[in-house]
């Protein structure tokens, strides 16, 4: 549905997007991840024909964003990052305007507007002036305008920033729901969102593509050791000595940022991938006379993956592509 080939965007001497390629299948929800200023918005703007690429190409449903811009624009719904809306208009007037601009036929218009308003939960707010709406409702209006004309592809740029937790959940549900029947590209830097909604993720950093895969595969690829998280009360030196003695343990990391309630400290024990050292660890801790408060398997969260792939210190490691 979307094909991106060696796409680059340069602003003066700054390479905002540097030679990235990926494809999105029909009906897929693709997470588009990256730190701020990684080039997410620039990429989306090129896909929506707002800015032309410096080099490379992007196609939506076979139409090139540069050469067949009008055909592409008919097939996309776009929600820009800061949800720019005409604040002096009423919600239903605005959506009516958008439906006219998007060439929705007179006959279908009323039904379509009703559907979109219902779907985005705007029924009670439809005659209010957009400028008086809360951020959450403006976001819904933004999504509603993207949905008008029933585009095959939806491009959403950070649709949940600035919302309260309840609104975030609602918007996520809506996006998940939209995934049935639309191809969705969702740009964000909120990671749990991606693991919850997206089939696959693209991670870009400093304009370059660093990963393109499903969350599960990325986790697998980056897991270098079997990890166990433990919370132990007692002297750290003795614990280290006890754990080092266990066969198969490679390293022990202290996690000082994790909660140290009840005097316990959290560690992550790295062991060889194919070994199971959990029982041995537990025994060693207890035998050393230390208090074992908690013990559970530790899996890489998307945060860890993200940091591993985008952090400067682990740059070499992060180059791995699947």
């Amino acid at each position: 549905m979307i094909e991106v080939n060696n796409l680059s965007k340069r602003y003066g001497s700054l390479k905002a997007v540097n030679n990235i390629s990926f494809t999105v299948e029909k009906g897929e929800i693709l997470g588009f991840l990256g730190p701020n200023a990684a080039g997410k918005t620039s990429t989306l703007r090129m896909l929506t024909c707002y800015i032309p690429p410096t080099s490379g190409s992007a196609k939506v449903n076979g139409y090139d964003v540069f050469y067949d811009s009008m055909e592409v624009r008919k097939r996309i719904g776009y929600l820009p990052e800061h949800v720019p809306l005409y604040l002096d208009m009423r919600v239903n007037d605005y959506l009516d305007f958008v439906s006219r601009v998007k060439n929705v036929g007179q006959r279908d218009r009323d039904q379509l507007l009703k559907n979109v308003i219902g779907r985005c939960g705007l029924d009670t707010e439809k005659s209010r002036i957009i400028g008086t709406l809360s951020k959450g409702y403006r976001q819904r209006v933004g999504i509603a305008q993207a949905l008008i004309g029933d585009p095959e592809v939806l491009l959403l740029d950070e649709p949940t920033t600035g919302l309260d937790p309840r609104q975030i959940t609602e918007i996520r549900e809506l996006i998940k729901d939209l995934g049935q029947g639309h191809t969705v590209v969702l740009s964000t830097h909120i990671l749990p969102e991606v693991s919850m909604i997206c089939d696959r993720v693209v991670i870009i950093n400093k304009g370059k593509l660093v990963a393109l895969d499903s969350v599960a595969n990325l986790t697998k690829a980056l897991t270098k050791s079997q990890m166990t998280q433990i919370n132990v009360k007692g002297e750290s030196g003795r614990l280290m000595a006890a754990l080092k003695a266990v066969n198969g343990v490679l390293a022990v990391d202290k996690k000082p940022d994790m909660d140290i309630a009840d005097g316990g400290v959290t560690y992550v024990v790295h062991a060889e991938l194919d070994s199971d050292v959990r029982e041995a660890i537990a025994r060693a801790i207890v035998n050393a006379g230390l208090g074992l408060h908690e013990m559970r398997p530790y899996t890489l969260s998307l945060e860890d993956i993200f940091l591993a792939l985008t952090g400067d210190d682990v740059k070499g490691k992060g180059r791995k592509r699947n």
Binding site: T48, C49, Y50, I76, P84, M89, F97, V101, N103
Partner: protein, 236 residues
């Protein structure tokens, strides 16, 4: 064309939803009405719109600047242009739609002054043909200035800067007529470019194809450049 109409309709609604239309109408009528009284009733005692329309050729300039200043700059400032430019619309349709909206508002405000010739008709016997061509001239002059306003608005993210650009260009052009005192061919050129020649012909009841061609060229040139400016902004 249909798309341009959609844009124009939205802009017009927005004019009347904000104080712009009413403020422009108020000041337009205030100044022009005062001048009409001063020129026609208090001093000249002549049943003609000529003196009143003369001042209109200057009053048009700030009016055009105020009506058009936000058209593109506001969209760029608030970011709404990003959505507009990703809808299936050609750039010229957007420019033309906004331009049409500004002309309709200007024509509406101009129509409010039809009461003056009505008074002239009640208390005297004006030359109706001259009144009519005078109004056609005022409309064409306004249409030219508005086109320049649309272009100025495309040039800046700030409405105020856009208005200043528009005022500088239009007053600059208008005062070129002063250059005509140097006489000769150059003087002619100044006089011609300043809209004075065209406007005087219209208010004297004369419709000359050359004047129409000048106005049409000016409008098309301004709008064409505006479309190009918007295109360039995408590449930046």
């Amino acid at each position: 064309m249909r798309n341009a109409t959609v844009i124009a309709t939205r802009e017009l609604k927005s004019y009347f939803a904000s104080p712009v239309a009413y403020a422009v109408g108020f000041f337009f009528l205030l100044i022009l009405g005062g001048w009409f009284y001063f020129i026609t009733v208090a001093t000249q005692h002549e049943a003609s719109m000529k003196g009143t329309l003369e001042v209109l050729s200057y009053l048009c300039i700030p009016v055009a600047a105020v009506i058009t200043m936000h058209l593109f700059s506001e969209e760029r400032r608030s970011g709404t242009i990003e959505l507009l430019m990703t809808y299936p619309l050609q750039d010229w349709q957007v420019v033309f739609g906004k331009y049409m909206a500004s002309i309709v508002l200007y024509a509406f405000v101009l129509a409010l002054t039809f009461q003056y010739p009505v008074f002239l008709g009640i208390f005297g016997s004006p030359d109706w043909g001259m009144v009519l061509t005078g109004y056609i001239g005022a409309l064409l002059l306004g249409a030219s200035f508005l086109a320049m306003g649309v272009l100025s608005s495309a040039l800046s993210k700030s409405s105020v800067v856009a208005a200043i650009i528009c005022l500088l260009i239009l007053f600059g052009l208008r005062f070129l007529s002063a250059g005509s005192i140097i006489g000769g061919a150059l003087g002619e050129v100044f006089y011609y470019l300043s809209f004075s020649g065209q406007y005087n012909n219209f208010s004297n009841g004369l419709i000359d194809t050359r004047d129409i061609v000048y106005v049409a060229t000016f409008i098309l040139f301004s709008l064409f450049v505006a479309v190009r400016v918007i295109e360039i902004n995408r590449w930046k």
